[in-house]
Symmetry: C2
Subunit: 701 residues, 2 copies
């Protein structure tokens, strides 16, 4: 679909100009300079030629249809120009001009009309407010960035034109090749998802790197990113993390979940590799572009100096990868080839006076060894060191079945080596730590690619019952669902809840208690009271009929004093739960990515330590288990120092049931089961307390 | 003292050689090439001249005494050569040769003899197994690193010659100047501490950066580093962190404390700025060398693109610094100078088409504004951007009273700008994140420099009593001190312990319980039993005389069954404690740095969450409070959601008392007060259980 955008046979530039520095001039100059072979058609009513090319007064004068129309006119003229392009049967349109959504409501309105117009004609629109695009395959620099990159296999998507130019500049300095670069600007029509799909299908692109400030549509993004990541690595730098607005939330889960966490969950689900900063984006991109994925995470380090070798080993260990142990045979074979003082461990220290041959011996050994998944080669510029020769030797013996990354440490002296390495497809980093970070990203992505197929379980549930409760509540605008109703919703989705009934007077309370057996818990039921226990609305461990009566009357008295306005439905009398570990499971609906499931250990773990994990729904059983394992308190769950562990499967099951419930009912905005009481392995966990919040009617996310 | 090393008027090279590539040749060549103006005296029995210089057969032929003798001979000849140098009244000796401690026991023995010899003559010895040293002030490259750096104010200490050369190479590429560079090698005599002191007193040195793999003597290091840091910034990259050996430890504190934590504590105490990786060492060094310390931590960001501005703001927030708010007057004055579309917040966005003048307007405003402590200037290479001119303009309006750091993002296009910046004393970083990290290091160091004077409190204690207990235990080799004796030691140091007595039979136990009042706790006392409760040796909440008798007999029965070999002293009967928060305070003696104090919240916080802090003893009250505040669980200590906080002063006091105890008694290897029960503010905390381990007699650390 994006063929006319990336591979146009003709390009019209509306707003073509003869003045250097003007966008309408520079784009044409860039197209010419880059060697674009198609027709270039300047359009400007006031000029007869631009840069030696004949100029049309209007696009409708074009004799044939134009594949790509680039509009570089003042924003007020853009709508008209788009219409003219569509009339002239443009295959794709790029609006470079700014003055749209980024300037306020009027601009947004104009932008919206342009996008609608293009969409109604099924013509893809890039921009507005963008830099344009570059394709090195057909030598097309259809942007106003003057630097045409060398051809390569990394494609770039960027929401910021400045990041595009900075990346192009960095790529030039690092001799990195680019396949395609797309500046998506305001994303009125084509957004990151569309381009991920397009580039995933592009034969020239081996790696996609992207800079994003926001995401147009969460669902679409997750789908597109998953599809793209399943074919090739997608590395994203997402800015604006800490400034993410806090939304008002009434549940624990809601308070803990923020936009930043939602992006993390969406990236994890989609297999997106996250770059934490600008350098990491380029660092990771280079490694994925040049080297194969590793089979595992066992890393071997080769160095000509002890200190940097230790730094690398430290970094490998901290990253969660493993410092490989050489096979005994490999080690003894290598021993023959290196001087006696060399260390044949991991790191392999080829010593300060190492010439290229020692690096070759060590790298060959590492590549042959089955116990090694990836290799880091470190060089420091010492008296005898020959960076360029060593680089060439490393490149010469690099087999290409395992990733090899290089860290030539230093500056001026190692620079020739660095260039040779990159030319030979070996990524070089200025420090061991950056080499390790890039390798770590690769190990994680390789693991994601090998993940089992996602199988989301569907439990048999009573969906009708939940539908009825929710519909009634939304109709009457009672959006806070308290404990009793929340529990019946959860029960309809297969959760075990303690036996209990609502009592409207003392007699009923006593009767219920007798029927279900002591001890019982008693809790006030009122749509107006959220923090029941703060107002004296909860009594636990009530052990006799008289105590039930006392508790009932006292609770009613206290509530009438402390919350005289509250409408009281009655008092809920339920069987006291046996002891167990208190955990919290919940859901908060992210405006972008929909239901995010939360898990954490109860009390201080959640409140003080923030030791919680989030995952996008729907969730598989493996992912639910993964959620438990990614908390630091997992040690407690699985048992420690003589204490038995708890029923992990029960928690995972609960998370999947919430996943199903909140996927079935987009009306649920937030849900908290807190605490969810979990017993020993084999027992079924029980919902001790729960709460939900519904969306206002009509809101679907 | 190190004058002859750094400023020799004559340098003899023993092992001078005519063969390029040999160390004895290259050092002389480097001395000549660097423009060293003193006398150079090659010494070699087999040569009459080296590199055009007349060569002595032996050092004793020298007519005058030689300030610096550099020995580059095979290790077997070094002892004899050192002796000859000392006889010839050398002022300082550098042994370049390897083949010493790093090769094993024999080498270590040889090295030790050489060091002793020099020390007995009071002649400083650098090395062996080192690269030599460089001083740009007197143009002396007395090393075999061929690259002579440009003069500057950063001095380098490195335990690895390879890191020296890598840093020199990096400095050349980044146009960074160096004052002195010292490769300390095996540190047989001169170590990091000596050189910190020397460079702290060196007028050319403004910043010290060091790469260390170990530290020769913890106490000396802390003293030297504190002295140096009090004069100028000391930045250290310490490798070998995760591979630090785990020592056998019996206390909680001992298990949690490792060499890595001890280094962290020592650096914190000494004001040392820690670099986490090779690039950070150079990054931080450059900033400290070029810019003044900030007065506070409020950072203003100036950018010509939104995305990178947001990245910088994110990084500032995450680092713990503050995104500054411009003063209203500054903001409105700036508004006049920038286009309407520019954003006058923080970041200040001067827009993509910004020419140098807009950067100047923004930087001038930021420098004038009292609400700004530091400035980060970001530039991305866009169509209209003029990196070199902008760099020159920034440099031109930089006033120098607040730190200004720059991030020119990109590569080839921004490079000319980068060079202009560095030439003008403005450090430039390739990404906003690295600029922020360097600034953060500076903010922390500035705060350390402004710390109040350290006042370690001395509490009145009964030192004699503790001395008696410890001496007796060491004499009889009973090094594990159980609860009862540990409590009496702590009581002698002013800790409150519950009232309690040792009972040797049932009758005594009942009598004690009656006397101190119910409820009581009962605990088995045996030097052979460490985990009392695991064997049924603890009963809590015993509430009557009969229950005391039952508990006594049952406990004795169980212990006789479960630990028949254990020698039983009796059963300790003590007053049950009222409830409170359980914390752990303890001490583990680090082999390098001596007593390290530990604080953490009890139970899972320590065991699972590892939420603990360490500090070197002796500790001040401020530092003790700081220890509490640096745990994540501090929120619980100070009270949260209606819960009252605990007596923070009581915990801080306890830590100071342990500090005094373990400083007074180096015989104590480990100490754990677990739990230390802390009540509400104003109450005194109580030692609920405690344990100590003594050093074997004769061991002092």
């Amino acid at each position: 679909m994006l063929q006319p955008l990336f591979y146009p046979e003709s390009i019209a530039v509306l707003g073509a100009s003869r003045t250097p520095g003007k966008v309408g001039h520079d784009i044409i100059a860039n197209l010419l300079a880059s060697g674009y072979g198609g027709r270039i058609i300047p359009v400007n009513p006031a000029a007869s030629e631009v840069l030696g090319l004949p100029c049309l007064r209007e696009i409708k004068q074009a004799e044939q249809k134009t594949d790509l129309c680039i509009i570089a006119l003042p924003s007020a003229l853009v709508l008209e120009a788009v219409r003219a392009c569509l009339d002239a049967q443009a295959g794709a349109i790029t609006v470079i001009s700014s003055g749209f959504k980024e300037t306020g409501v009027e601009g947004a309105e104009l932008e919206h009309r342009i996008a609608e117009l293009c969409q109604s004609h099924k013509v893809p629109l890039l921009g507005p407010n963008c830099l344009g695009l570059i394709n090195t395959e057909n030598r097309m620099n259809a942007s106003f960035a003057s630097r045409m990159p060398q051809p390569g296999c990394i494609s770039v998507i960027s929401q910021s034109g400045a990041i595009c130019t900075a990346l192009l500049d960095l790529a030039a300095a690092r001799h990195t090749g680019i396949a395609k670069m797309v500046s998506i600007g305001n994303k009125a029509d084509l957004n990151e998802g569309d381009l991920l799909i397009a580039l995933a299908g592009d034969a020239q692109t081996k790696v996609i790197i992207a800079y994003l400030e926001d995401i147009t549509c969460g669902d679409e993004f997750v789908k597109a990113a998953t599809e793209a990541s399943s074919k090739k690595p997608v590395i994203i730098l997402k800015s604006g993390t800490t400034v993410a607005g806090q939304k008002a939330a009434s549940s624990h889960t809601g308070v803990l979940a923020g936009a930043e966490i939602a992006y993390g969950a969406a990236f994890m689900r989609s297999g997106v590799i996250r770059a934490d900063n600008f350098e990491a984006l380029a660092d990771y991109g280079a490694l994925f572009a040049m080297q194969p994925l590793p089979k595992g995470k066992r890393v071997l380090i080769i160095t000509n100096a002890g200190g940097p070798g230790t730094m690398a080993a430290d970094a490998v260990e901290k990253s969660g990868m493993t410092v490989a142990t050489l096979d005994r045979n490999t080690a003894s074979a290598l021993r023959q080839k290196l001087p006696l003082a060399a260390s044949i461990g991991n790191p392999i220290d080829v010593l300060g006076d190492a010439e290229p041959d020692r690096y070759v011996a060590a790298l060959e050994a590492a590549q042959e060894d089955e116990a090694v998944d990836a290799v880091i080669v470190i060089l420091t510029p010492q008296a005898m060191t020959k960076p360029a020769e060593t680089a060439r030797a490393i490149a010469g013996c690099h087999k290409g079945d395992k990733p090899v990354v290089v860290a030539f440490m230093g500056g001026a002296d190692v620079m020739p080596g660095r260039e040779e390495l990159v030319a030979a497809g070996l990524p070089d980093y200025p420090s061991p730590e950056r080499a390790v970070a890039a390798l770590k990203a690769m190990v994680e992505y390789a693991a994601w690619r090998k993940r089992p197929p996602r199988m989301v379980a569907r439990f048999p549930v009573n969906r009708r019952r939940v539908e009825r409760i929710i519909t009634r509540r939304q109709r009457t605008n009672r959006l806070q669902i308290g404990e009793v109703k929340a529990k019946s919703i959860l029960q309809a989705y297969g959760f075990q809840i303690p036996q209990g009934y609502l009592a409207s007077n003392v007699g009923e309370a006593m009767e219920i208690a007798e029927r279900i057996g002591y001890p019982v818990a008693m809790k006030i039921v009122s749509p107006d009271i959220i923090h029941k226990s703060d107002l004296g609305g909860v009594r636990l461990n009530v052990t006799s009929s008289e105590a039930v009566a006392d508790a009932y009357d006292l609770m009613m008295l206290r509530i009438s004093q402390r919350a005289p306005e509250a409408w009281i439905e009655g008092i809920y009398v339920e069987k006291m739960l046996s002891r167990g570990l208190e955990v919290i499971i919940g859901m908060s609906r992210d405006p972008q990515f929909g239901p995010m499931l939360m898990f954490g250990l109860g009390g201080i773990f959640v409140e003080v330590m923030k030791d919680v994990t989030f995952y996008l729904a729907p969730i598989t059983n493996e992912e639910a288990i993964q959620m438990l394992m990614s908390t630091r308190s997992y040690e407690i769950l699985k048992g420690k120092r003589g204490h038995k562990g708890v029923d992990l499967a029960g928690i995972a099951n609960g998370l999947q049931r919430i996943s199903q419930l909140t996927t079935d009912f987009p009306q649920i905005a937030e849900l908290d089961i807190n605490p969810f009481i979990v017993g020993e392995s084999g027992t079924e966990p029980v919902v001790a307390d729960a709460r939900m919040t519904l969306q206002a009617p009509g809101v679907t996310r």
